[in-house]
Symmetry: C7
Subunit: 75 residues, 7 copies
């Protein structure tokens, strides 16, 4: 098994804008402030992205077990 | 990994009104009194927000595994 | 994190009538006799509340992982 | 927290007929023979109750995580 | 709590034909060869029972968390 | 409880073609190379079986919590 | 039980393009950079595959409990 953990790329994504897909077809975007091993996340300046448009959420804490995937910004 | 935990922003949100999204498309608002690491929450003066209007709930304890996300009030 | 736990308000609600929302859109009311940290509950004189009316259940034990939220009676 | 556990009323319900609600809108009735802390149950002379009528099941072991609630018989 | 565990009746059901209900409305029948505390099961000469008829499965291992209930044969 | 574990029949099924039912009505077939106690599986020469036909998957690792049941080949 | 673990084939798949099936009928492809025992994955140059076409995702971290299966590339 790897010496690096899958979540290490999140450490490099801190203070940067990430894209998050949640169960139930939700998508969000926000600046990653904190995370833990359960993928509980704190986002700043978050917004929900829907086909009808985006909704401003401000600061938000996301419970990790709703997360499907997280995309850090391109390097 | 961070020295701060994602839930630290909840500590700053205590005694303030937070917005909560629950599974099953429920949304609630209330004054955050307490929380634990599972995101079990105690709210005061809570209300459920639906498209038909809001319903007063008073004090309420929310089981954490229903929580999708929590938004503290703007700083 | 708080010295008080979210479930402490349940202790004050013992022997009083609480309102419970369960997954699957069920709602119940009953006198809270006991609870544990999983939100397993014992209710006395319980009834299920549906749009068609209420159904008497008598004593009932509720498995905690079905619970969404519990409202103690107003103080 | 209480010195009594929510499941203590099950101990008093042993050898008596209980009503059980399971996920997926199933309802059962049977004589409670045994249980454990996960609400795994053994029932004797069990029957499933549906709107179309009841089905005899005889002895049955129910996996606890399907249980929503259990009603002991009136005292 | 009981000195007997709910699963003890499974021990008496070994080498005998049991009826199993699984999540997703599946029903199976087979000779119980082995089980563990998670209700992982090994069945011999198993068959799936559907409204359209039965399907022979031969030996089969069932993952316990799909099990709703198990009926041993009548005594 | 038994000295044999339900999963022991999987040990005898290694290097042989097994049939797997997954949640969401998926069925697969492949040569069982490895497994663990969570029923995480490695299959070789795997194929998905659907009513429309079979799809070649080659080597595949299956996460155990999607597994409903596994049928080893007839003895 | 085997001395090899099911996930060992993932170690050989590192830095190679894998195909992933997720719950909710999602499919993805990407270069496997890292994984852990929960099947949390880090992918590089990832893309989502849908019937309507593919969507570029770039780097992505996938939460393991959404994974159904992973196919390493043919040997």
């Amino acid at each position: 098994m790897s010496v690096n953990k899958p979540m290490d790329i999140l450490n490099q994504a801190r203070e940067r804008r990430v894209l998050i897909r949640l169960r139930g077809n939700r998508r969000m975007r926000g600046i990653l402030k904190n995370y833990d091993i359960h993928l509980n996340l704190t986002l700043e300046d978050a917004e929900e992205i829907a086909s009808e448009g985006t909704t401003k959420l401000g600061d938000v804490i996301v419970r990790g077990d709703n997360v499907i995937m997280i995309s850090p910004p391109p390097k």
